[in-house]
Amino acid sequence: MSDVGGWGWQAIKAFTVAVYIFMFAPILVTLTLSFNASQFGGFPMTGFSLHWFGVLADNDNILRAFRMSVMVGTLTAVICTVVGVLAAIALVRYDFRGKELINTLLVAPVLIPEVVLAIGLLLFLRWLQQPRTFLLLLLGHVMLSLPYVVLVVQARLIGIKRVYEEAALSLGANRLQTFREITMPLLMPAVFAGILLAFTISFDNVTATMFWRPPGVETMPTQIFSMLHTSISPEINALGTLMILITVGLPLIGGGLARYLARGQR
């Protein structure tokens, strides 16, 4: 719109800062309120306290929901990564008829509303006259996360030059060896990104999970949702802070560590 440095540029810069503030202010407020000593979840701040984190640790429902979320998330991540990497290799490394269609199909769950995906799966189950089980929740989460894993791995795979694989093949390695020795190590960052992404999507999902969870089972987000019905308790704030520390902290530490190690190798 304007040259870098002009007043127009300054206006864009100020606007961008405002957009970032908009994105993070509510989250920072929640983080702050979780250390509030008050009995109520909102303002005013009456003092600094870690009391509500202690209360969390005694809440069996929350611990159970947490364990459930971690389990579903981990299994989803493993399954999605295996299935997604194979599919991404086929889509990037091979030419075949109907590739466009397959590509569209694989990422379709992104564009179909979760409510519809959730109802579809439930109706299928009802049609088969099966009860809602843990397996349904797990497979549902796999379906929701798979497109993202395929997209991320695909993007990385396009960046890995074919010549490395061809060199290995011409030096006498078979396809499996080539994959194990060349493709896989180069693909590792994408695999980790895929695992992390699938875990996060599963761990975070609330819309579809409300439909799929077996009777009596809560995941972290549905647990928070059911606690919300009355008003926001300080416990929810503490829980939110804990979840943010885990889901933002882990990838940051992981990414930082990977960068640090990569620097050490050079």
Partner: protein
Amino acid sequence: MATAILTAAERRRPWLLLSPALVTLGLLMVIPMAIMFGYSFYFYVGGGRDRPDFQFGNWAEFFSDNYYHYAIWKTARVSAITTILCALMSYPAAYFIAMTRFRRKWLLMLLLIVPFWISFIIRTLSWIHILGGQGAINATLRWLGLIDDPIPMAYNEGAVILGMIHFLLPYMILNIYVSLDGIDRNLVSAARTLGCTAWQSFREVTLPLSLPGLGAGVLLCFVLAAGSYVTPLILGGPRDFFFGNLIFDAIMSELNWPMGATLSTVLLVLLGLIAIVYNRYMGLSRIYKGLSR
């Protein structure tokens, strides 16, 4: 590609690699969607029971009952407002990130990804801490002595829109950023050399070249907004229901599965039509490029 010299085994290999993914999606998405459509013709007996049938009662009810039409209209209107505001907020931010010579640009990019890692439900309910009776705005105004009673700002349509914009912004900014970043800077320089003002070169060169990214962001945000039902539940009032809420109520509260199937099919078809029209002019591959960042 020299397809002719490929052996049968090699031709089979991509399908072998794809089969787990295709089986997964076929079983969990394609077949369920087909059954959902079939179920919309079932007959609802009452009391949570239905029987296989082929009748148009559910469809007739959908087309004749204004309640459903109102929900569609409301969903479309609120989603459109959300998407437009989101685009207006995102474009300048994406432009800044793409064009800045700021050395810590990676930090700006990282901060765009971070919201994806933060629980959606926490992000949504955190707006109550801003807008609610005990929220930051009311608390500040009261502290300043400007008001005695809190101004009601949460639990209405505006709060739902804010919450949805908050959740959709990163998607929109990333999509616009990807297409702005791909523009050859020489084109803008050339336009300037040929006498364009900064504004003209933006309008004639940069803006048209970034439209695909903007379009992808708009489609994605509209579809995600129109399919939402948790945000209206948390931030909306009793009248702020989306089409998704009707589906949830039909199935989970009334146990009227055939009607739920009908309404789900409607939502799928309406949003599918939008995606098809978009694909005809822009190509869906754009969206996937923005998502893989």
